[in-house]
């Protein structure tokens, strides 16, 4: 997914020089665009204001009638495209027209990825780096001041809120999660206790999960150095994953997509090293 690409700003224009839409047409147009992932700006001469123009390319939809869309008086600072909003054209035609304009302006293509990623509440975060140590997928990193931040949102595993459960302050939110406080609801004392219990996967497994997998790997190496019992190892891993899924709300498909124990151990070490470096004292000048 290409991050930082601007999106197309679609404007539903009903001011001077255009015919107003009926309420039903306005709703169905806006609704169809939103359902396809496009945002809509609806200016009004009657009440309120919208944000001023910025660098986002504009697509202005309106019922211009016989006069057609307005001519631009001077070269615009950003690309502006006018299109006729045909009455009763139907959502398919509308969306095809908007998608054509989007492609032409090379703006971000909406959709294709459920935006599932952690959001840090810095009012609560203590920069302890537990999330960075925990995540095997490189979602977290640190900024220039060694402050934890979410750096690779699209590496996050959809519907997996596991890192939020290792946060001792309940500072990690997934806004699309079903329940609080992970969804952004107010954090309560009882939440803090409950989250702590839920994330204590290690207590179910007799130790840190990555440590456990690492140890298992070591045991496996010595035990099966000559004749490795892959079936048994797989069974053990599956048992472990089932426990993880039951304890932490982690989707089974996420757990099943985890790499093998050796790779988990390698990534865990890498993450731990990043966290350690972030927490190390700064060198004195």
């Amino acid at each position: 997914m290409a991050l930082k690409d601007p999106s197309l700003r679609v404007v539903l224009y009903e001011g001077a020089g255009a015919e107003p839409l009926t309420e039903d047409d306005r709703f169905s147009t806006v609704h169809a665009l939103l359902e396809s992932g496009f945002g809509v700006t609806r200016p009004s001469v009657a009440a309120g204001a919208v944000s001023p123009q910025d660098s986002s390319p504009l697509l202005v939809l309106g019922r211009w009638g016989a006069a057609g869309p307005p001519e631009l008086e001077a070269e615009a600072a950003v690309p502006i495209h006018f299109r006729e909003l045909e009455p009763a054209a139907g959502p398919d035609k509308l969306l095809a027209m908007v998608e054509t304009a989007r492609a032409k302006t090379e703006t971000a293509q909406p959709g294709g990825w459920k935006p599932w990623f952690p959001v840090i509440d810095y009012d609560r975060c203590t920069n302890c780096m537990q999330c960075l140590s925990f995540c095997l997928f490189g979602v977290y990193g640190v900024d220039g001041e060694r402050r934890i931040q979410v750096q690779n949102q699209d590496n996050c595993k959809t519907n997996c809120p596991a890192c939020s459960r290792v946060c001792p302050e309940a500072a990690i939110m997934f806004p699309k999660y079903k329940a609080g406080p992970i969804n952004g609801d107010i954090v309560s004392d009882s939440d803090l206790q409950r989250e702590k219990m839920k994330i204590d996967i290690s207590s179910l497994l007799g130790g840190d999960i990555y440590e456990m997998l690492r140890n298992r790997s070591e045991r496996a190496k010595s035990r099966f150095s000559k004749e490795r019992d892959s079936d048994k190892a797989l069974t053990e891993r599956q048992k472990c994953l089932i426990k993880l899924a039951q304890s932490g709300d982690i989707p089974p498909e996420v757990l099943m997509s985890l790499p093998g124990p050796e790779e988990i151990a390698r990534r865990a070490e890498e993450a731990a090293a990043k966290a350690k470096a972030a927490l190390a004292p700064l060198p004195t000048p």
Binding site: L3, P6, E23, L34, V50
Partner: protein, 129 residues
Amino acid sequence: MASAPRILYCHCKYAQVVPKDQKELVLRALCDSGSAFEAVADLCELSARRDPSLQRLASNGSVKIAACFPRAVKWLFHQAGAPLVLDQTEVLNMRTQSAAEIIPELLSSEVHPNLPTGKFTAPHAEPVS
């Protein structure tokens, strides 16, 4: 005289966490109101993409946002490098408030800022309806 607050509606397209009826009632009311507004398909997606439009939406004066939990909205904007102005932003939560509560508040010219302004831990869990 202060200008009327801008209105931002989030359709939360990529998840089922906001009831469909609720979203459509709010959107319908906006479309019928004659007020200017901006609607986005999904604030989370824009935040993940660090879309420049969030900067436009966060600045330029007071704003009322119909979306989800204020704490989530505050940090979604922050994470995208477009922090909301704390004393000029009111978030209406379509996950917990009814459309009947949200619509008059959204269309009112008064802003009741409600973004969290620091660490707060409630003594008891707030039920999520």
